[in-house]
């Protein structure tokens, strides 16, 4: 099973950049010339609690959720964007309030938030991320870890202006 995971991860996590440019580019003419927006993933919004507080760290930490946020089309990095993160971890279920937190992207459009170790739940070790603010269209992601032993997960957002 672990053998398949890197492929799945490549498909799922990097879908935003590589696949989207090629595939969705055809479907979204406005972005045909540039970076296509990241589509929401199936199940991405499960157990979402809107308005998770911006925190230094979720719980005790030990696991890093990292990523970038760029604008569709020109790919410009988007600073100051709020990314909400939750997962089933060693410190709580997805539904538990303490499993949720948010962070802001820095000047380069990158974000990183420390959180407790994600553990397999509902059959896969996976996290949830949301961009849910007025400026761009809402996106919910549900990346799957290549291995349950991983201590970080990287996710790229490409957002479409509203």
């Amino acid at each position: 099973m672990t053998d398949f995971s890197p492929i799945r991860r490549a498909l799922v996590v990097s879908a935003s950049a590589a696949a989207a440019t090629g595939l969705s580019g055809l479907l979204v003419p406005a972005f045909a010339q540039g970076l296509a927006p990241t589509p929401t993933m199936r199940g991405g919004a499960n157990n979402y609690r809107p308005g998770a507080p911006i925190v230094e760290r979720i719980g005790g930490g030990g696991f890093w959720m990292t990523g970038t946020v760029r604008r569709a089309g020109d790919g410009a990095p988007l600073p100051g964007q709020r990314i909400q993160i939750w997962a089933h971890t060693t410190e709580g279920h997805e539904r538990d309030p303490q499993s949720h937190g948010a962070t802001l992207t820095d000047a380069t459009g990158a974000f990183r938030l420390e959180m407790p170790q994600i553990v397999p739940a509902f059959g896969q070790p996976h996290g949830h991320l949301a961009y849910d603010d007025p400026e761009f269209e809402t996106v919910f992601l549900r990346p799957v870890m290549a291995s349950a032993r991983d201590t970080s997960l990287h996710v790229d957002f490409v957002l479409k202006p509203v």
Partner: protein
Amino acid sequence: MVRAAAIWAGFVTLLVVPAWVAATSPLLAWREPVYVAAGFAGVIALMLLLVQPLLARGDLPGVALARGRRVHRWTGAALVAAVLIHVGGLWLTSPPDVIDALTFNSPTPFSVWGVIAMWAIFATAVLALLRRKIGLRLWRRGHRALALIIVAGTVLHAILIEGTMGTFSKAVLCLAVVAVTLPAVITFRGWAAWVRSATTSGSD
């Protein structure tokens, strides 16, 4: 005698080892009791799939066919109960994930196989309750076809999941389930024997 002991030893080992591995999984430390119960109900359901064909065919030494068939019905009822606890417990743990699965809208590929197996199990229960009305022939064919769907669906479901079961012991149990199911649904021997016993005893 030695053969009987070997069969029973193998049978018990195939059930006890995967159950033990699942019961001692480190993942349990990070799960609520209802999630633990839901997961284990799924493990038990898979274990029952190993028991069912052996009872139906009278393959377990010392368990006569007629008695095996009676137990087989109760084991079947237990299988329905295990599935209800499995799905119900998962629902309480994370309702949106279960709704996604039941509506065939889940991001996880294994959910669809589990839901297919679930419906095939429920259909078998309904068919079993109606077996006198629908006739032996339809019941036999229906039960065999559904058993194949149940086993295929459950095995795919279990193998694709990263959960409390151990990868190796789970694979061995799944292989064993397939191995005992195929001859049970393909051969007519068991059914012929059952029909004989049913007609001579006058019951059923």
